[in-house]
């Protein structure tokens, strides 16, 4: 144990070393202060981290609650969350399934850790979830190959499999932040089109070893078996790098809305390119210029040109707790917690500010920090009951840094009019998100 840690443990909680303005505390306090502090965090991530001796002693004798006095419920074959968690659900952008896209957003403000449960994984669907019989599903690989081949699901299951954790993010995640005014919506509405799961499947390069590749192939077209036959063009480089045919999501078969029975997984790449219900891969010389790449997922720039094949989801972070809707009940010690990720690789550093970016301090990163995966970050904070603006900023191992919103807007522009919250009117927003805390502890989306 280092001298500094011993010294910190010997001091009272009120004197935890401040590391930046407006109450940010030394992150090592989170990890090194032992059972009392750590226990309080896991039991009450947001509410009750007041300083020692803040609460009067409890006087009511402890009693047996009713659930401790009778047998519990019969165990079910597939368990669902507690009835008390009924509000921890996705929000739907098109709940009636009208013609057009459907979105389901992940409630990050009600989750913790780095893995998104399968039922809460975000979805953007362009025509609903098909009901695919896995025994009748086929994957064809053809085009500029030496031998076109067709695979059944049973056949793929006999290939060497690999497992990796990776996030998926819709190109349109964060689109509300293109608004010229900060939209008053919660984190789920603003950044709920990103999730992270552990995926298991067969690397695409393994299958291409058997089909062979004509050296003229520079791209492949991936196509789904859903009603729109959704198709995207992907550089062949990605196929030879880390592209995977994913068969399992967090240990079980893919959810229907996430591509059952198989999807293309392109770690770090725009969500829409990770073709669900994958049924065909065609190696080609040039991209197909499908509707989704030539039009929908092309982002207009302030000069009237547009990005095409943006490919990467760039380095990004946001604070999940506190966030809008999670009101701070009283001044005291809190844990600021959030998610950082980069389509380029590992998160190298996350900094947090409580004073709107005037001062910053390093957040603690939860190990293991994995490439192209959500990384949970944490920062202890003593809220003094005054105004605060909370921000997080991430760096990845390639040196890319998450831009401030003014830096981002200078390059990518912003909308002329305030859009509806659910509208996706531009894409690939990765700048800093700011939460304003007022004197009664309410948290609002602000620009800073």
């Amino acid at each position: 144990m280092s001298i500094s840690v011993q010294r910190r443990r010997a001091t009272k909680s009120s004197s935890i070393e401040a590391v930046a303005g407006n109450g940010l505390l030394n992150r090592r306090a989170l990890l090194g202060r032992g059972a009392v502090f750590a226990g309080a965090i896991s039991a009450a991530p947001l509410g009750a981290l007041t300083g020692a001796a803040a609460e009067p002693p409890a006087k009511e004798p402890l009693a047996e609650p009713p659930w401790s006095l009778e047998p519990g419920a019969t165990i079910q074959p597939y368990e669902r969350p507690s009835q008390f968690e009924k509000d921890v659900v996705r929000t739907l952008g098109n709940p009636d399934g009208k013609p057009g896209a459907q979105g389901a957003r992940t409630p990050h403000h009600l989750l913790n850790g780095a893995i998104t449960p399968n039922g809460l994984h975000f979805v953007v669907s362009h025509e609903g979830a098909p009901n695919i019989d896995p025994d009748k599903h086929r994957l064809v690989i053809h085009g500029l190959v030496k031998r076109p081949l067709v695979f059944t699901l049973d056949a793929l299951a006999r290939y060497p499999t690999t497992t990796r954790v990776t996030f998926l993010e819709c190109g349109g995640n964060g689109a509300p932040l293109f608004s010229p005014q900060p939209l008053q919506a919660n984190l789920q509405a603003l950044h709920g089109l990103a999730s992270c799961a552990e995926w298991t499947g067969v690397k695409l390069s393994t299958l291409l070893e058997e089909t062979g590749i004509d050296p003229k192939a520079k791209w492949f077209i991936a196509e789904g078996a859903d009603a729109p036959h959704l198709a995207r063009s992907v550089p062949i480089k990605k196929a030879l790098d880390d592209a995977m045919i994913a068969l399992y999501q967090n240990g079980e078969r893919l959810m229907p809305a996430n591509g059952y029975p198989m999807r293309l997984l392109l770690p770090g790449y725009e969500g829409n390119m990770n073709i669900k219900y994958l049924r065909r891969i065609k190696l080609v010389e040039e991209p197909a210029m499908s509707f989704w790449e030539a039009r929908t997922y092309a982002q207009i720039l302030p000069n009237g040109k547009a990005y095409q094949f943006y490919l990467l989801q760039e380095v990004k972070s946001f604070i999940t707790q506190p966030s809008p809707g999670l009101t701070l009940k009283e001044p005291g010690l809190y844990e600021i917690s959030g998610i950082a990720y980069s389509g380029t690789g590992r998160i190298a550093k996350v900094m947090v500010s409580a004073d709107g970016g005037r001062s910053w301090a390093d957040a603690a990163l939860q190990e293991p920090v994995m490439s192209k995966a959500f990384t949970r970050f944490r920062m202890p904070w003593r809220w003094d009951g005054g105004a605060a603006i909370l921000q997080s900023r991430a760096w990845d191992e390639a040196g890319n840094v998450q831009p401030t919103r003014p830096e981002f807007v200078a390059k990518r522009g912003e909308l002329k009019a305030v859009p509806p919250v659910g509208a996706v009117l531009n894409q690939h927003f990765n700048a800093i998100t700011s939460w304003g805390v007022d004197s009664v502890g309410e948290v609002k989306h602000v620009y800073a």
């Binding site: 025509e127 009603a227 065909r280 092309a298 207009i300």
Partner: protein, 184 residues
């Protein structure tokens, strides 16, 4: 725009396969299939027109098919604005001012879409909404011609087929920038 040297990895893999398939032992559980077998699924139309099937269609033919199979969602005469669809479908299938706003709501075929072939490809694979892949190739050519004529990108009497469609000049063809060309 997409001229690249061959990726070293791809060339290397191809060489390995040619030279020593015997040591590249895998499960080999994929079944070979020929082009005729794949053809019903091989619906990709590339931007140079590769993959376009035989057939022809005119705007007048397309107008009749449109009224029957498309207008219920996209509105009469491509004007959009019908009830019961999501906001994105309310926009008309034609028009559009020069783009001066970063909003995707300003995207139209004539002011944004870079390739005419995308219309054929998308209509055939995804439309009509309730019954995708039910249009004949002739119908898809006719609807493509109708939409292009609505946008004044072809004349009312022009015929679209595998030769004429890729030659339709799209005004915003050069309006795009690759964000990460090194990844391609």
């Amino acid at each position: 725009m997409f001229t690249h040297s061959a990726p070293i990895t791809a060339a290397w893999l191809a060489l390995c396969l040619a030279a020593g398939a015997a040591f590249a032992e895998g499960p080999n559980l994929g079944k070979p299939l020929d082009a005729a077998t794949i053809a019903p699924w091989d619906i990709s139309i590339e931007s140079d027109g590769s993959g376009l099937p035989p057939g022809t269609g005119t705007p007048a033919q397309g107008a009749r098919i449109y009224a029957e199979k498309c207008a219920q969602c996209h509105g009469p005469d491509g004007k959009g604005g019908v009830a019961g669809v999501t906001a994105a479908l309310l926009a008309p299938l034609f028009g559009g001012d020069p783009i001066t706003d970063i909003s995707a709501a300003t995207k139209r075929i004539a002011n944004f879409w870079p390739y005419s072939t995308t219309i054929f490809d998308y209509v055939r694979r995804a439309m009509p909404w309730q019954q995708p892949m039910t249009l004949t190739n002739e119908e898809v050519y006719a609807l493509t011609a109708y939409i292009l004529a609505l946008n004044k990108l072809i004349g009312e009497n022009d015929t679209m087929n595998a030769q004429t469609l890729p030659k339709v000049k799209m005004p915003n063809r050069d309006g795009f920038i690759m964000r990460f060309p090194e990844a391609m």
